[in-house]
């Protein structure tokens, strides 16, 4: 829930727009896509026509018939409103995004130098130059230079990010702004197909297609609707046999109460809201299918670095060489790291301070000369006040010692090996040609990861850590982090093979990735989340993009997927369970006039036949509105086993679904009787 952007549930502007949309959606063309609500609409039309006919022939019971007709229309409108609300929230977001999409000038690098053109004229393959303060004119890949970029328009994150040529942080998005330096970009998408365009379409729900589970559920609901249609249509002949014929108003009321209008009315809202929740978490999915698949994931592949461990190693221990005091080693290590701005370097300074109370000194006052890390020496260090300190990997330092005709003590070599075996990285420190000891750099597992993996296990999801480390190191970290399995010395192909192996067993696999070499695996995985900071290839291959580039987000994505399905299931159960109470309201009301003994079924003691039927139909309509917040927010989800989850949901939405309408209908009955409406 890191950067979830919260909007109030009922924003006034959204409500206003949704109210209008609800009316527009009455068009049969739109309604037909939702068989349950379409049946209600047909019923409404039927009663309306009949109401008018009865008015001309002065038959029927106008006040009652009118109220029924109105509430039937309300039922349809409420369902439309729910859908429009969900869409409205998306549209609001899309509007914000559109502002970022304003026309800009692009500086295209052509054969004859740089030319100015409108950004809308850029085509895939064009090369443009963007300098500080300018807007990036389209999606692309940095091919030259490095720059800091403000991506807040898309991610909502105000801190600038670094984009550079080559490597895994080369992708840039149109509509974001370069803050410093100059970069050359190769455009990778045509106008209208940019990332921003896709994102707008997505949140607006314009390209919304029904997901597999939604289709299946729709079929179930359509089936139930037909069954209840049968039950109601055939009831009239039975009523005629019993000399107790019913009016169309009553029969349509019964039908509408029985068919699953609650879930039917909220179904598409739930789907849209699910996507919306994902967007609020700064994740873009290319399809609703991917969101559903996230709920089904069996295996989660997580990269060690950056996901399970904090990206960088940290110093955890100083192991001095024989005859060297630990304080001396710590002091040398700290000195050598003062100018080292890498996280590793900083962690050494901190450790020395914490453990040996060595305060960090200011380099400027000491006339020190910093020796930066270079690929040839593979050491870094410092020259200060006659001291020459170096730190580096064991073989680099060994070479350095040899140059000073010195030897690496056996004890130091031993310490190096022990550290390596435990999953750490040893860094040897030498001063003036003499080995002082070893710094233990440790992979630090992010806080709370173990708990998260336990939650995942409870949800039935297996976690596999992917790392380039050797198996020994990998095993140590895997143990510490509490993942179920690990893949050590992993090459891109190994990752791919692992995914295929899991899928062959029928499992669904999710993974994150950012590099171009991750692309095939991202494409193969059922849920592939590309980091927004990653390469364009990775973003194209995956079916989701995390704008925050936070690999741990995968866990939240899974939860959102599950929540989406659960909300559908819970409301379906609730909707069907409601029918019990509605029967006890309507059936006695229909027939007690002919057979007073049937009042025995009027267990709610509703006031009279008309108030009973009205109460049921009003409850049926109002419950849709009442459940909109739940549909948009999703049912609460805490990671637990499926059995426990089902038990809880059955209790809340199954049993609750039976009980709530009894109370609700009775309450409405009291109110409408008090208002003399029946």
């Amino acid at each position: 829930m890191s950067h979830a952007k919260r909007r109030s549930m009922f924003d006034r502007k959204i409500v206003r727009r949704a109210s209008v949309d609800a009316l527009l959606k009455l068009s049969p063309k739109v309604m037909m896509k939702n068989p349950v609500m379409f049946v209600v609409e047909i019923g409404s039309v039927l009663t309306t026509v009949l109401l008018i006919l009865n008015l001309t022939t002065r038959r029927g019971h106008f006040q009652f018939d009118l109220q029924i007709t109105l509430w039937l229309w309300f039922t349809v409108l409420f369902a439309n409103f729910a859908e429009a609300m969900a869409e409205g929230r998306g549209k609001a977001q899309a509007d914000a995004l559109r502002q970022a999409k304003s026309e800009t000038t692009a500086f295209r690098v052509g054969k004859n130098g740089i030319e100015q053109i409108a950004s809308s004229q850029l085509r895939s393959g064009d090369v443009v130059q963007v300098s500080a303060g300018q807007m990036i004119p389209g999606d692309g890949e940095v091919i030259e230079g490095i720059a800091s970029v403000d991506e807040s328009a898309i991610t909502g994150e105000s801190a600038p990010v670094i984009r550079e040529a080559g490597g895994d942080r080369s992708a840039v998005t149109g509509g974001t702004r370069v803050l410093s330096d100059v970069i050359t970009i190769r455009i990778t998408s045509n106008p209208g197909e940019t990332f921003l365009d896709r994102m707008i379409a997505l949140v607006e729900g314009a390209e919304r297609q029904k997901t597999p589970n939604e289709i299946a559920l729709n079929i179930l609901l359509a089936g139930l609707t037909i069954i209840f249609l049968l039950a109601v249509v055939t009831l009239q002949p039975f009523a005629i046999y019993s000399a107790a014929p019913q009016t169309v108003f009553v029969l349509v009321s019964l039908l509408v109460c029985l068919i699953p209008t609650t879930i039917g009315g909220l179904l598409s809202a739930i789907g849209i809201a699910g996507m919306d929740r994902l967007v609020q978490h700064n994740v873009l999915a290319t399809s609703g299918r991917a969101v559903e698949a996230a709920g089904d994931v069996n295996t989660l592949l997580l990269d060690k670095t950056g996901t399970i461990t904090i990206g960088n190693r940290q110093a955890s221990e100083f192991v001095p060489a024989p005859g060297v005091k630990a304080e001396v080693l710590a002091d040398a290590a700290q000195l050598s790291s003062l100018a080292d701005e890498t996280p590793e370097g900083r962690s050494i300074v901190v450790l020395a301070k914490e453990k040996y109370n060595l305060r960090g000194r200011e380099l400027g006052q000491m006339h020190a000369e910093f020796v930066p890390f270079s690929a040839t020496t593979r050491m870094s260090g410092i020259e200060v006040e006659g001291r020459s300190i170096r730190k580096g990997a064991v073989d680099a330092i060994a070479r350095y010692l040899q140059e000073h005709s010195s030897q690496m003590p056996a004890e130091v070599r031993e310490a190096v090996e022990t550290i390596a075996r435990s999953g750490g990285t040893p860094l040897v420190v030498a001063e003036n040609g003499k080995a002082l000891g070893v710094i233990h750099l440790k992979d630090v597992v992010k806080g709370g990861m173990r708990e998260r993996f336990e939650q995942l296990r409870a949800m039935g999801i297996r976690t596999v850590m992917i790392t380039g480390d050797n198996p020994l190191t990998a095993a140590a970290i895997a143990r510490e982090a509490g993942v179920d399995d690990f893949l050590a010395e992993a090459k891109p192909k190994d990752k791919m093979d692992l995914i295929k192996r899991e899928q062959a067993e029928g499992k669904l696999v999710a993974m994150t990735g950012d590099g171009t070499n991750d692309a095939p695996a991202l494409a193969q995985a059922d849920v592939g989340v590309a980091m927004n900071s990653g390469t364009q290839a990775a973003k194209e291959a995956g079916n989701m993009v995390d704008l925050d580039s936070n690999p741990t987000k995968l866990i939240e994505i899974v939860a959102i997927g599950k929540q989406l399905l659960m909300t559908r299931g819970a409301l379906t159960t609730f909707s069907i369970a409601n029918d019990v109470a509605k029967y006890f309201a309507i059936i006695p009301a229909m027939f007690a006039g002919f057979f007073p003994v049937l009042n025995a079924l009027n267990i709610m003691h509703l006031h009279n036949a008309e108030s009973a039927i009205l109460s049921a139909i009003i409850f049926n309509a109002v419950i849709i509105i009442a459940l909109i917040p739940l549909a948009l927010r999703g049912v609460s989800y805490r990671p637990m086993s499926a059995a426990a989850l089902l038990q809880r949901n059955l209790l809340v939405y199954g049993l609750g679904g039976i009980i709530v309408p009894f109370a609700g209908i009775k309450l409405i009955d009291i109110v409408i009787v008090a208002m003399h409406l029946a």
């Binding site: 299946a216 037909i226 069954i227 049968l230 002949p237 029928g506 669904l508 299931g569 019990v580 059955l650």
Partner: protein, 587 residues
Amino acid sequence: MSLNGWLQIVVFFAAVLLFTKPLGVYMARVFQKQRTRLDIIFGPCERLLYRLTGVNPDEEMSWGVYATAMLVFSAATLVLTYLVERLQHVLPLNPQHLPGVASDLALNTAISFTTNTNWQSYVPESTMSYLTQMLGLATHNFWSAAVGLALAIAFIRGIARREMKTLGNFWVDLTRGTLWVLLPLSALFAMVLVSQGVVQNLKPYDTVKLVEPQAVTGTDGKQTTVTTQTIAQGPVASQEAIKMLGTNGGGFFNANSAHPFENPTPLSNFLQMLAIFLIPAALTATLGQMVGSPKHGWAVFAAMALLCFVAVLTCYWAEAHGNPLLHGVDQHVSALHSGGNMEGKEVRFGIANSALFATVTTDASCGAVNSMHDSFTPLGGMVPMVNILLGEVVFGGVGAGMYGMLVFVIVAVFIAGLMVGRTPEYLGKKIEAYDVQLSMLYVLIFPLLILGFAAVTVLMPRLGLSGLANHGPHGLSEILYAYTSATGNNGSAFAGLNANTHWYNYTLGIAMFFGRFMMIIPMLAIAGNLAGKKIVPASSGTFPVTTPLFTILLTAVIVIVGALTFFPALSLSPILEHLLLGAGQTF
């Protein structure tokens, strides 16, 4: 209700429980072609049968081929029965010289027995010759049961198999079900029945002199004296055995298992009820065995047993209560009589055994009766009707109950799956739109036929209502029950309805036909689809189908689908009749 009555009911459930596992495991072995002790006897028969009929036992069939073979076979057996009925007057073993059966009745009966319904629009002892009973009807008791068994096994294979296109071989399943299961059990049971007094002969009907001649008034109003009694005979035990074991239920005599020659003693009665549940109950264990989850089998068994027990409870309670309209009559239970509503019930069975039998025979799609459901109290009579309306899945017919139940399992798992936030899975198979679509089609056929036909019938005074024996809400019950029984392939009746008319013979025939085959086709298609899927390994994220929670969910889905669909209709028939009975109204 008496302590002894409860004891008999408990002992019955215990007996069912006792046989479930051994028979279920045995059937799993039979259909998976594993070795059994009976191989020595039936192995050669099986091979001979394949050679005579040109069956290649190693051929594997897709669901479409399996369904085609089943349909063609059912058609062939239907034709044979129709011909035997029509031609019985020129065929042997007709000592009473009964004429050929009329065409509409012959067709209705042929469909009825082919579909395992065994609805009888006729009085057998005055309509069917011994040969017709043996060759035309008893054979169907085997065939239709074996077909049901084969289909259930095919469905189970669909669940158990992974990434395969086939469901087995119809002819092999049919043969092994007949030879290894139905035939030996029937032969054994038939002999036990004879030992209890069920007749088994081919002699003409006996005529005996009445001890006390009776003066009776004929339909023409003339007084005559009856001095003799004609006692119908026949090869009853051999047919009775498979009638129960195959959940067929078509009586050799009109009174069915109430007839003393079909069901002479309390023990024969107990064993008949046990025989009805024997194979359907055992199939739950077969399911558990074949899908590698015996606990799942028991969970399904538990759902069935629970529904059955509640039904028995209700029916026994209602019947023991008696009829408030009878005055000067002792209906209280005592050591000297069972009391209660005894109209249509036999003294040797009393209330408890009649209520239990009525529940068992309608839970399973058997339809045999040892008491007349039409004369039950309104609520007591609603129990058998509701049992069928639930879809004949509470143990259900041989095979048919299992595959019907599995369709409900799919619906239950679908809803449960969504509620735990995953694409629903059943034993590792993902339940997708196609499966839901076919399951809903399966569920839909039932109310369509029952409510559709009943609604049309009640609107036709001449064709529909003239056959009623009782009026008021009970008349509606009779019509509803008829189409329910036919569609559910049960065969029991509110027998006051005279259904031997063109209208009823044809419409009930259609209901029986579609109630069987229109449900089998989608069911097999689901099985075929499931067989082709991967199996997702279970994890704690998968909703377990082995727990009491699953049993409760499954029960709830069955009850809610059934109750919600039929409650309006029932509220105008048995429920209304019950309330009016309390108010003292007659019709």
